[in-house]
């Protein structure tokens, strides 16, 4: 392309890139290419001096295209776009070549990695020549917020946002607030009462005028885009539909806090759950504790209690992950049972003791002093529960292949407590579909970035918090809920939101109205204009995902910033590197 003045910046990323990629060789190679005005390396291109260098170069050399060869655009595209803006250049005249994640981090041979870096940078140069100036759109941010789930996370987020003066619609499918926490007695490690924690929240939630609570309800539809969503809330109270009109609410952001469900212990057949009456789950024990009596099914006070860890967690057959809260909860049970019945012998059968959180290690030390018998078993080598005979003087016998002693140990038990892990709710895929977010293979919702964007999702305006993302304890859930609320409040404060200019558009001169694209848009952005017999994309609804661009057989739909010409030029660049 004529009149292209390209600046190429090859980042060393400390030694992250420079250790494997010969950055000087890459610079030398690109310097000799037509249209490349200058090429430089720098230790950290994303640092302030790095960005300032780019800004200065753009001004001094009238650059009109910039290629940054560094990390993933997910990481720093925004940073460098801002640098272009600061220099008065349209931010879309940038292209990044990922020579870190896609090159230096995955190769060990300097020669090959350098060759690949050259190809990636050359492809980026071929692409950037075809970049066009694009303008972002600005839309109003509706200050109302929808919170799905009325557990501790949902209530925390809802209160935070409502206390700041915004309308919040809190939708809970049960007939009461509190979620899983409402089923718990005390909390580890400080033994605070869950009821006390919750009552305060529930009272505040009920009394807040800005907080509109929909119990026994669920969100059945969500349309629109960040700042301008419309949600449909349906009641589940079973009344006939004519008396049960769904509510339609307008919102700008959504927080999903749908929580978890416990693992179904009957799936592990040889623990005998559901067959042996005194094998119970942790939640069944909580219920007993809340009722004030820990007894066997026969109404007797148990003399021997065994607690088995990792039921459904950390196993190849069920869930490979750790459910994080069960170890401390098990120790809490030892405390609670001991204080209710000091005569009771407690065995704690575990794989590893995960005491990772604040105060947890101390709690573990205190528990081990409280005469609890700890028995360690090998992952995959589960203890076996038998019914005892009459001469054993107990209900059941548990055979444990004890790892530390290397011996098979048989322990008596009148009551066995299975520490059931957390798993994604059975309706989580439905929620994911309605709010348009993704799930991992276990069903947990996926965050936009696991480290840097833990509560955002890939759908702008949809946030996730609490145990619907992954197993976690109360402080982490609350922190996430507040984080999501803070993100939303910051956006509400700005009143407007800039929408990326990367939307798709239909070229009227090319669309023949075949209608192949009409039902494909996940954002309902495509309409069919009957008078023109052509399809049309509502740009404010389009997120630029490209589904319709790929589906259009006549190239009538153009994905801005991802045009056929741009993508093909990049592919050509990879293969025909000079």
């Amino acid at each position: 392309m004529k009149n292209c003045r390209i600046g190429v910046y090859v980042c060393m990323c400390g030694t992250n890139i420079a250790k494997i990629v010969d950055v000087e060789a890459v610079v030398k190679f690109v310097s000799e290419l037509p249209n490349v005005v200058l090429a430089k390396t720098y230790k950290y291109m994303c640092s302030n001096p790095g960005q300032e260098m780019i800004v200065q170069d753009i001004k001094d050399n009238q650059l009109n295209r910039v290629v940054v060869a560094a990390c993933s655009p997910n990481m720093h595209e925004r940073t460098f776009r801002n640098a272009l803006r600061a220099a008065g250049l349209n931010q879309y005249l940038l292209e990044m070549a990922n020579i870190r994640e896609q090159c230096s981090w995955v190769h060990t041979d300097i020669k090959e990695a350098t060759e690949k870096a050259r190809a990636l940078v050359y492809a980026a140069i071929c692409r950037v020549e075809l970049h066009e100036e694009l303008e972002s759109m600005s839309v109003d941010m509706c200050p109302n917020v929808l919170v799905i789930g009325g557990g501790i996370a949902g209530m925390t987020a809802a209160l935070e946002i409502a206390d700041a003066g915004n309308n919040v619609y809190l939708v809970e499918k049960n007939d009461h607030l509190g979620g899983n926490l409402a089923r718990v007695d005390l909390t580890a490690p400080y033994l605070y009462s869950a009821r006390d924690l919750l009552t305060e929240k529930i009272t505040r939630t009920n009394n807040n005028k800005k907080l509109h609570i929909y119990l026994q309800s669920k969100v059945t539809n969500l349309t629109g885009y960040i700042g301008n969503f419309k949600a449909t809330i349906n009641s589940l109270n079973g009344k006939p539909p004519e008396k049960n009109k769904p509510a339609e609410v307008e919102i700008g952001n959504v927080v999903v806090c749908t929580g978890y469900k416990e693992f179904d212990a009957s799936r592990i057949v040889h623990y005998g759950y559901g067959k042996l009456p005194n094998v119970i789950t942790s939640f069944e024990l909580e219920k007993m504790i809340r009722a004030g009596r820990i007894v066997t099914k026969e109404g007797k006070i148990p003399r021997h209690v065994a607690i088995i860890h990792c039921v459904g967690s950390r196993s190849q057959e069920f869930h490979t992950y750790c459910s994080r809260v069960c170890c401390m909860t098990a120790l809490k049970y030892a405390h609670e049972i001991k204080s209710a019945n000091p005569e009771c012998y407690i065995s704690d059968v575990y794989i590893d003791m995960h005491a990772f959180g604040k105060g947890h290690e101390d709690f573990y030390c205190r528990s081990s002093e409280a005469k609890t018998l700890f028995l360690m078993y090998e992952k995959g080598d589960r203890p076996v529960i038998h019914k005892a005979t009459s001469k054993d003087n107990c209900e059941m016998l548990i055979e444990v292949n004890e790892k530390l002693s290397g011996e098979v140990i048989e322990i008596p038990a009148d009551l066995v407590i299975l520490m059931v892990g957390m798993e994604a709710r059975e309706d989580s895929h439905e929620v994911a579909r309605i709010v348009n977010i993704s799930q991992d293979k276990e069903g947990w919702f996926i965050e936009s970035h696991p480290k840097l964007e833990p509560v955002a999702t890939t759908t702008d305006g949809i946030f996730i918090a609490g145990t619907c993302v992954a197993p976690k304890d109360i402080p982490d859930s609350v922190a996430q809920a507040r984080a999501a609320a803070a993100r939303i409040l910051a956006r509400i404060a700005k009143e407007k939101i800039e929408v990326d200019a990367l939307y798709s558009e239909v070229n009227e001169n090319l669309c023949s109205g075949c209608r192949l694209c009409n039902q494909l848009c996940p954002y309902s952005a495509i309409e069919f204009l009957e008078d023109k017999k052509q399809s049309h994309i509502i740009s404010a609804l389009c997120k630029g995902c490209g589904v319709c661009v790929a589906a259009c057989p006549s190239s009538a739909i153009n994905g801005r910033h991802f045009t056929d010409q741009q993508v093909l030029a990049q592919v050509d660049g990879l293969f025909v590197i000079p």
């Binding site: 075949c514 192949l516 589906a551 057989p553 006549s554 190239s555 056929d564």
Partner: protein, 324 residues
């Protein structure tokens, strides 16, 4: 016609072609009299006995318009393409083979050796006990006999020489040819070099009057004989793959009028580089299944996808040919 401007010199040539394109020129019927009134046909192997040598002896740019049909598959085709380029003011790639590589271009899914093995030894009708294969040169007592060199690649005309215009179709509609011819004779302003002429800019769907709704999600593909076509609704909505959405309009959607789905001979519409890839991408998008196994099951019903989607366009497509 005395005293009027000199008559145009017109040539028609066939390279790797079936002859249908030349017949489409003959199909002007009595309009041929109008043609010959305005033009002299100086070279047309299907109709007159004019030798290659005669063409070679013409001055450069002697021919006003050459309609070149057929793909370039051997050294003779290539020689004639280059020769006619030199001798013609306007070189037109006429018909799908010349335009895109066409049906002969499907041979690019095989190598020359595979083709020869099939044709000269394995085909059901071949009797070749001595295993005789064509050779470029063969010595007999009268001298050396030669055959054109058979290439591995089939190419479109524009992959060999510079082409001024493209008239698509298998074969092109004779009416369209007459329009183009009339335009040239009348001295009307010609479109920019490299244009597709004698056709529209959009796709078949723009012309086609079959009823099109948004209901384009597909759970099962059918071949045309497997369904009772209702004659009214879009073929795609009946599960029959029609190349119309990725094919340039201009033929008057004649196949679809005859209740057969479009095969794609008019090639890509404006802006499309690879109609086969576009159509595959489109088909993949509209499959109404989520699980990979289900999607595979749906796709199994697409018989011979390479031949279906690239029937006319393989040599000019992104994949171009099988790797050698």
């Amino acid at each position: 016609m005395e005293g009027s401007k000199p008559k145009l010199k017109l040539a028609v040539y066939w390279a790797a072609a079936c002859g249908g394109c030349c017949v489409s020129v003959l199909d002007v019927h009595e309009k041929l009299f109008d043609v010959v009134a305005a033009a002299d046909l100086v070279f047309w192997p299907i109709a007159f006995d004019i030798k290659y040598r005669d063409v070679e002896e013409m001055p450069d740019q002697n021919i006003d318009v050459t309609l070149f049909n057929g793909a370039v598959r051997n050294s003779e085709n290539e020689h004639m393409a280059k020769l006619l380029r030199k001798k013609s003011k306007i070189l037109v790639a006429y018909g799908s083979c010349s335009h895109l590589g066409g049906i002969p271009g499907l041979a690019n899914f095989s190598t020359k050796e595979e083709l020869f093995r099939r044709v000269y030894s394995e085909s059901e009708s071949t009797v070749n006990p001595d295993n005789v294969n064509p050779l470029p040169e063969f010595e007999v007592k009268e001298g050396v006999l030669s055959l054109p060199d058979f290439y591995n690649d089939v190419r479109s005309l524009t992959q060999v020489v510079e082409v001024d215009y493209f008239i698509p179709g298998c074969p092109p509609q004779t009416e369209r040819l007459l329009e183009v011819f009339t335009a040239i004779v009348s001295g009307a302003e010609l479109p920019p070099k490299g244009s597709v002429i004698g056709a529209g800019t959009k796709t078949q769907c723009d012309d086609c009057i079959r009823k099109k709704t948004e209901n384009k999600r597909i759970k099962k593909f059918y071949r045309p004989w497997e369904i009772q076509d209702d004659g009214v609704s879009c073929f795609m909505e009946q599960g029959v793959i029609c190349m119309g959405p990725a094919t340039r309009e201009g033929c008057g959607y004649r196949c679809i009028k005859g209740n057969a789905p479009c095969r794609g001979c008019y090639g890509p519409p404006t802006g499309v580089i690879d109609p086969g890839a576009k159509m595959m991408s489109s088909i993949a998008s509209i499959i109404d299944e989520k699980e990979p196994e289900e999607i595979s099951r749906v796709l199994e019903d697409v018989v011979d996808p390479a031949g279906l989607f690239y029937r006319f366009s393989l040599p000019v497509s992104l994949i171009r040919r099988k790797l050698i």
